[in-house]
């Protein structure tokens, strides 16, 4: 056994380069317009169609240590939040280039680490000002307004930064004037009914009243002379709640501060539809299904609780997807209950069973004779012998099947759901005696049936007693169309449900089997975005707004630290006694600049992907233009908020076609996004600090055969 040790950080940092090249593969997945990829296995000529980062990494060969760490980070993000992986991947690429740039410029590694991580922290604090609170979205939910009303809009093409650049220039001239005239506008989103009363009318007045009645105490800030501002939301703004914000450039001029205070619009979101459109990120068809699912859950909750005293919570664990490849896309729908697929030979049985509610048994494991619960070890050396010739030794399966059937008959059970496999022989017998057995049922579905029907899950059918049996389950056909599944056997979908059951099945159909996975992934992405938005009761302004603010903020910080020198630098460093702490000021502007460049790269990728910018150069010019404006305005966050409102009003005034006036806001979820940033930076910094790879357990010869260059042996 030999330990090999390879130095990976000599002149070029191999690890960082690997990271950027891995990240490069996923850059087309960023943003609302995603281009799919084919991944082809050269050995077995299989190919998969993918359009998400997670699926991409699943299909790539990431056996190198850095590749594995990347995969681990993406998986962790995906497992925790189910979203934000493309952001993560793209930022990993952008920041690993940024870190490498710092290395080229001779910045000590420890300083890159501490300045970058504090720089990102500062960004995360800064973007609080772009948070939009979500309030009572379920208060005004009504079924006349559904997602389909907005379906025609193509939200994806209008992220924040894509205001036609001529309007941007034009507006710049009127900046101060606009500021004055708009200073009292409350930008409550549903309160934007000016031109679209049909969609957003009813709540506007109510909301405005609510705003005025709130008086938070946190605003002791004397700068906020303008009491006309609706403060309730401003408490969320770091911009006003911070007493000594000496890091802000705007402080150099009292006027600027006041000006920005006055222009700050109060964004809020209290309309479910508005929120969903904002979070759909261009995937209307998936979000439409999410919308239907939420409404169904809402109705269910209303039915269950009678009144609506308990606030409704969107429960994502109560949503289940059923993929039916081969059916036309238009059949995708949302159904209350559980939709699953059974063999078409069961038609008669279903017809029989759908007449009345039936009783159900839930089985945790397989429903086969040989199944034993987890942790049970069957000894191999036991031989069963029969003493008389009458009993055939192979009848044990039949004995077992008969026994199961007896139990089912005894408790009058017509439906058995099993989490695992079911013995074919048992299925046959049950079908004959008008009993339906369904295998491979998802755990959360079992849970939902247990809660709604009163059944208790058992491991063995012998455990069944009266208390374990649930009742009141209805079986029907989902649609009476059979379809040919991949394996050629004809199958059909059935629907099982119980009164008060907290389960909604989203049926996803696609004529192209290869797209099924993508469709399912996209549905879940939308569902989880909405889930986190509702859970956190806040969203961020999306479409690149937050990233733009980070970029602008870091540039300002970098400039400030260039001028200010060594004043507050020691607070940024762990180890205050090292010389690194005292030379922090020297390197800080450089590192912050590089970190900002990472954001820049991210934004230009985003813009290029939305297809309205043909070249990276054009995108960069566009970003540069707005950066300049933001810096000139003195407060980037108010500049962005201003642009947001202008985008609407500006487009109104310039008389562009009627359709454009309905452009809704694009939103992003807060914590998952920020966590993706942190994860990306953590990974980059982890790799940056790594100087060698230690490979254990490989023989000298094995490494020789690969590339022995740079290996040291112990």
């Amino acid at each position: 056994m030999v330990m090999a040790c390879r130095v990976i950080n000599k002149r070029r940092h191999v690890g960082l380069q690997q990271l950027s090249s891995f990240a490069e593969t996923g850059r087309t997945f960023l943003g609302p317009v995603k281009s799919s990829k084919f991944v082809i296995d050269e050995e077995c000529h299989e190919s998969v169609l993918i359009s998400s980062t997670v699926r991409l990494l699943e299909s790539l060969d990431l056996t190198s240590a850095v590749g594995q760490l990347l995969n681990e980070a993406v998986q962790a993000q995906n497992n925790t939040y189910r979203t934000g992986t493309s952001t993560l991947l793209c930022l990993v690429g952008a920041w690993s280039s940024a870190a490498e740039e710092c290395l080229h410029l001779g910045v000590p590694i420890s300083l890159i680490v501490s300045v970058m991580s504090e720089g990102l922290n500062s960004c995360i604090e800064e973007i609080v000002s772009l948070q939009v609170p979500i309030q009572n979205v379920f208060d005004c939910i009504d079924n006349t307004k559904t997602f389909s009303g907005l379906e025609t809009l193509n939200v994806s093409l209008y992220p924040f930064l894509q205001i036609p650049s001529d309007t941007g220039l034009m507006q710049k001239k009127h900046d101060l004037k606009d500021v004055a005239s708009q200073s009292l506008v409350i930008y409550s989103l549903p309160g934007r009914p000016v031109k679209s009363p049909k969609l957003f009318g009813p709540q506007a007045k109510v909301e405005a009243d609510k705003n005025t009645s709130q008086t938070p105490q946190t605003l002791g800030n004397s700068l906020l002379a303008d009491t006309h501002c609706r403060r309730s939301v401003l408490t969320h703004s770091r911009h006003f709640s911070r007493a000594d914000n000496n890091q802000r450039i705007s402080k150099r001029d009292g006027f600027l501060e006041q000006h920005s205070a006055a222009t700050l619009k109060t964004y809020r979101c209290n309309d479910l539809l508005e929120l969903e459109v904002g979070l759909s990120h261009g995937d209307d068809s998936s979000m439409k299904l999410v919308d239907e699912a939420v409404r169904l859950q809402y109705q269910n909750a209303g039915v269950q609780q009678g009144g609506r005293a308990v606030p409704f919570l969107f429960d994502i664990s109560g949503i289940f997807t059923c993929c039916l490849p081969g059916l036309p896309e238009t059949l995708s729908c949302v159904c209350p209950g559980y939709v699953t697929v059974v063999s078409i030979s069961r038609t008669a049985l279903i017809e029989e069973l759908q007449k009345q509610p039936i009783r159900v048994v839930l089985v945790e494991g397989d429903l086969t004779e040989n199944y034993r619960h987890l942790g049970f070890n069957k000894p191999a050396n036991i031989k069963t012998v029969s003493e008389s010739m009458k009993v055939e030794p192979d009848s044990s399966e039949e004995l077992w099947t008969n026994h199961v059937l007896q139990v089912l008959i005894k408790f009058n059970v017509n439906l058995v759901l099993s989490q695992g496999n079911v013995s074919e022989c048992l299925i046959e017998k049950c079908t004959h005696s008008k009993r339906l057995v369904v295998g491979s049922v998802n755990g959360s579905v079992m849970q939902a049936f247990a809660e709604a029907s009163g059944a208790v899950q058992v491991a063995y059918i012998t455990q069944v007693n009266e208390n374990c049996v649930g009742s009141g389950v209805c079986v029907t056909f989902w649609r009476s169309i059979p379809f040919d599944a991949v394996d050629g056997t004809s199958r059909m979908a059935i629907l099982l449900k119980t009164e008060g059951m907290n389960l909604v099945t989203v049926v996803l159909t696609s004529p192209v089997t290869a797209q099924m996975q993508t469709k399912e992934d996209r549905f879940w992405a939308c569902a989880y975005r909405l889930h986190y938005a509702l859970k956190e009761q806040k969203v961020l302004l999306g479409g690149g707004a937050v990233e733009f603010l980070c970029l602008s903020h870091l540039q300002i910080l970098a400039e400030q630290s260039l001028h200010k020198g060594n004043q507050d630098s020691s607070g940024w460093f762990h180890n205050t006694s090292s010389w690194l702490a005292s030379s922090l000021a020297l390197y800080r502007p450089t590192v912050l600049k590089c970190l900002a460049d990472g954001w820049h790269r991210y934004l230009s990728t985003l813009l290029c992907n939305t297809a309205s910018y043909s070249s990276e150069f054009e995108a960069n010019t566009f970003i540069q233009h707005h950066l300049q404006n933001a810096a000139d305005s003195g407060s980037p966050s108010s500049y962005i908020l201003n642009e947001y409102s202008k985008r609407k009003s500006g487009i109104f005034n310039s008389g562009i076609s009627n359709k454009l006036e309905q452009i809704p806001s694009v939103y992003d979820i807060v914590t998952p996004k920020i966590e993706a940033w942190r994860r990306a930076l953590d990974l980059v910094l982890l790799v940056l600090q790594t100087d060698s790879e230690i490979i254990t357990g490989l023989g000298r010869t094995q490494i020789k055969s690969q590339d022995s260059e740079g290996f040291l042996f112990l």
Binding site: M1, V2, M3, A4, T63, A65, V66, Q68, L69, E72, A76, T80, P108, I109, L111, S117, E364, H373, L374, G375, F376, N377, K378, P379, N381, I382, K383, T384, V385, V391, P393, M446, A450, Q457, V458, Q463, N467, S570, H574, N575, T576, S577, S578, W579, S582, R679, D682, L686, Q689, T690, D691, S692, E693, I694, I695, T696, G697, Q702, F713, L714
Partner: protein, 572 residues
């Protein structure tokens, strides 16, 4: 039958192993690996098997050395002693390894006979240990347990020294506080003459933010939501009677031995075992047990039986929780299915459930709360592994501090201070050593220089970004400065604080470069306890016991390696 025809290979014998080029190179590679990991700015290593196994990013000796196969016996000795030290003291593994390598390297350069070197090294070591343990020691701070400042600094120093944990400053403060709280929770309230510390359990919560980490008294057992639903609701009571099983209750046949067991088809062994289990269940019910926990699996039928009789059953607790559970509940783990002695039962004060992240937990609150759970969160797996190990090290360091209530100055200051002390001692009063070891004054000077150089090199290993290292001529502390600043005359303009953070820069201290010759001086002691406690806000500290042991292990291992004259290997 084939018989073995291969002839036995002769054993190989290598004389003077240390003189071989191969040993020298591999030792220096190992030293390079250890040195580059040292300290808060240390570089990380990716540890993996090159075949797609999991990747561990680390800079800790414990992680680096386990499973690190080294080929030469000299390296094996070194690795084994460091591992042994780490298994007893957790902290200061890298210090030990680097110091040992330095000593071997420095002494080899001198070329004195090993016996003389070993004898002198021993004397120098005893000088160090008696200085460190004496009241006059200038690099030691007493710990006052009524004040948390010093303890927090110790924990913070340990966390800071492992960059692969990927903690920001705020997160370090948060985790330090948690670790200190865990430590305090494990101290029994009314200790008599002997303190028996309680247990703490670290529970992983990967994927969450570090600041979501928390400490709870009692024990948390992770259980799937499905199972939780079956357990609830828990009835209210003042005390719950607990039975804890280490034997499997899954109903499988315990070891049937070799050979084949022939059973009649009318006999069902499974049912027989299940009957036995249900009998056990009946006894538990009649003994009024409220909670049954099992290390392994409980048969679903037994679980169902217990549930219908109002007994909560939790299985698959895992071996790691057995000791803490037994301690927290006062139970004797039950190892057989035969009748249970009533003395095996224990009790808990309260039961509940908790949810953290996406995980559900069953929460046991014991009567005597010296058992607690630390829920440790981290964004990614590799950082979590490092954070867990570091937290355990920090906790261990705190426990060792009870035994020896003092800490050493960290950040390289103890090493340079000790070096200054040894230099001064061997110059000013060499007589006792010379008498004892029968060597010349020159030999003593050479070896003491090698010894002090090795210590100072350890301190110097803290620097990874090309900075210059200095030591002052008053306290003998360690200072660092940006490279290429030798032309600067006025040091105070560049220096801020010494390595441990105790002294700030004053003009009269008199600096010199670390590896340059300087006149020996007696380092001044400047540690009045009250002042130390006050200024202790941002000190870098080391665990006293661990460092002292590390020093001893390093010197003794170096002596052992220097003493090797033959390596005989059986090649078969």
């Amino acid at each position: 039958m084939m018989s073995r025809v291969e002839a036995k290979k002769p054993s190989s014998c290598e004389s003077e192993p240390l003189t071989s080029e191969r040993v020298r190179v591999t030792l220096s590679v190992l030293k390079g690996v250890m040195t580059s990991c040292y300290g808060p700015a240390g570089r990380l290593k990716q540890l993996h098997n090159g075949r797609g196994g999991s990747v561990r990013t680390t800079s800790q000796s414990a992680a680096l050395l386990t499973g690190l196969p080294v080929s030469h016996p000299v390296l094996k000795i070194l690795v084994a002693s460091v591992q042994n030290h780490v298994s007893c003291f957790s902290d200061c593994g890298l210090f030990t390894a680097i110091l040992c390598c330095n000593l071997v390297e420095n002494v080899q350069r001198i070329g004195l006979p090993p016996t003389t070197v070993i004898k002198l090294n021993k004397h120098l070591l005893s000088l160090c240990t008696s200085y460190l343990t004496s009241e006059a020691c200038g690099c030691r701070i007493p710990v006052d347990f009524s004040c948390t400042q010093i303890l927090l600094c110790l924990v913070r120093s340990i966390l800071t020294s492992k960059p692969a944990c990927m903690l920001t400053r705020k997160e370090i403060d948060h985790v330090s506080t948690l670790i200190l709280r865990v430590f305090l929770l494990t101290i029994p309230e009314n200790a008599k003459d002997r303190i028996i510390l309680g247990k703490s359990v670290i529970i992983p919560l990967k994927g969450q933010r570090v600041t979501d980490s928390t400490v709870l008294p009692g024990i948390l057992i992770e259980i799937p939501e499905v199972q939780l639903m079956k357990i609830l609701p828990i009835k209210k009571s003042d005390s719950f009677k607990v039975a804890l099983f280490c034997a499997s209750l899954s109903g499988d046949l315990s070891d049937t031995g070799e050979g084949t067991l022939v059973v009649s088809y009318r006999v069902s062994l499974e049912n027989a075992v299940l009957d036995q289990l249900l009998n056990l269940g009946r006894q538990l019910v009649s003994d009024h047990v409220d909670l049954v926990m099992c290390q392994k699996v409980i048969h679903p039928s037994l679980k169902q039986f217990l549930r219908t009789h109002g007994v909560t059953a939790i299985d698959r607790v895992g071996v790691a929780l057995m000791e803490p559970l037994s301690k927290a509940t006062g139970t004797q783990p039950i190892g057989s299915l035969a009748s249970i002695s009533p003395s095996s039962y224990g009790s808990v004060k309260d039961l509940g459930t908790a949810k953290f992240g996406s995980k559900r937990f069953f929460h046991l609150i014991p009567n005597e709360a010296t058992v607690c759970s630390l829920l440790l969160c981290s964004r990614n797996d590799t950082a979590w592994d490092e954070l867990k190990l570091t937290s355990q090290t920090a906790l261990h360091a705190l426990q060792l501090t009870i035994r020896e209530p003092c800490v050493l100055l960290g950040g390289g200051c103890t090493e340079t201070h000790m070096a200054a002390y040894i230099r001064h001692k061997t110059r000013s009063e060499p007589e006792s050593i010379l008498q004892d070891s029968a060597c010349t004054q020159t030999e003593l000077q050479l070896i003491s220089e090698a010894f002090c150089g090795a210590l100072e090199s350890v301190a110097g290993s803290l620097e990874h970004d090309g900075g210059e290292m200095l030591t002052d001529g008053t306290y003998g502390h360690f200072w660092s400065v940006q490279a290429d600043s030798s032309s600067v005359v006025n040091w105070p303009d560049l220096l801020s604080r010494c390595g441990c953070g105790l002294h700030s820069c004053r003009g009269e201290l008199g600096w010199s470069f670390l590896r340059s010759p300087c006149p020996p001086f007696s380092p001044v002691t400047c540690l009045p306890p009250h002042e130390a406690a006050g200024a202790a806000n941002n000190l870098t500290l080391d665990c006293f016991t661990a460092k002292l042991s590390g020093l001893q292990v390093a010197v003794e291992t170096a002596n052992l390696i220097l003493d090797l004259s033959y390596v005989i290997e059986d090649k078969n």
